[in-house]
Symmetry: C2
Subunit: 199 residues, 2 copies
């Protein structure tokens, strides 16, 4: 079966190896595991993937991934508190939701501005963001972009677009909880020092 | 969508997190990747899993995983060369096939003997192995079990069963190709030293 590359199992291994975090070796291991747990895992996983392939869609309003045209967060009136959190990616939105600290709505850009990759404001739903600020009576836009050069460039561009229309904030920078100074980069230590607070 | 635990996407994340090598965080990342590559990856993967769930089966003769009652290796007459390689697991069989050095047939035990887990010879296809040695006119049984205590205990048990019926061999132990002495355990160095060869 290993020699016949058209074999169903080989096809599955090749597909699994395309997942982030799995290489060819771990894909083989995962497929063997799936075959052993056919009823408990392989069949449910196949069914679940088919369902998600049919039902998953991007929220037309914010870019979140869900199973309806407008996502649960955008349809939840309790979250219309005037705060709008701008993130690069759906993964970042999920991370914010896990933290559970933010009670407003999101706007998912779907990446960062990049001259090299020809990604301009239109590709990133930035015009839609500007529209939403007015349409949803937003009072504060929180730019929760990654602390990378591309993320910060994009944050500056958005800040320019929304200047004087709305309160603009960004996440605080500093020492992460549980972080050891010895393992932090100089930039983080500098940022934490500059933003030091009286206790 | 993150708050509704019956959501299809949450179900898929929970199932993916059960794969070896993926935790909750990497499962979320994988699912986002799948949703983004719906046509290229998610749908083909779902279809491939359904197919494998229906077609994958253990070879009745050797325990290999394939898509027919008797696997390709067992039906290939060119591999009836009198050599039988005993491995613990299908993953080990695949590893041997990748190396491409062995041209005979396999016998997959499906584990190792373990008094603690109540795994005896019957659970490991050992009676079937003894039958095959006679039925398939095997001249050499290569015990390619893992160099762990359980693997070696099982190898000794099998060797006892087949004593005087057939030539018994095991894989050579020594320094792995590309291995640095400084990073090898004492047992490997001892084995390599004892089995040293004249050049």
């Amino acid at each position: 079966m290993i020699r016949n590359s058209t074999d169903e199992i080989e096809v599955l291994i090749a597909l699994m190896a395309k997942l982030p975090g799995l290489g060819p070796r771990s894909a083989r291991r995962a497929v063997l595991h799936l075959i052993r747990k056919r009823a408990l895992l392989l069949t449910p996983l196949a069914d679940s993937m088919s369902e998600v392939a049919l039902s998953a869609r991007e929220c037309l309003n914010c870019g979140n991934v869900g199973t309806s045209e407008i996502c649960d967060i955008c349809t939840d009136d309790r979250r219309a508190n005037g705060e709008l959190c701008v993130v690069e990616d759906v993964g970042d939105l999920w991370a914010m939701e896990r933290a559970g600290v933010f009670k407003g709505r999101y706007h998912v850009l779907g990446g960062t501005l990049s001259a090299l990759d020809a990604i301009g404001p239109e590709e990133l739903r930035i015009p839609r963001l500007v529209d939403r600020v007015t349409a949803e009576a937003i009072s504060e836009v929180i730019l929760a972009l990654n602390a990378t050069i591309d993320g910060q460039t994009t944050a500056h561009y958005i800040a320019d677009q929304l200047q004087d229309q709305v309160k603009l904030t960004t996440l605080a920078q500093g020492v992460p909880i549980g972080g050891e100074l010895d393992y932090l980069d100089d930039g983080t230590i500098t940022a934490a020092m500059r933003a030091r607070k009286e206790i």
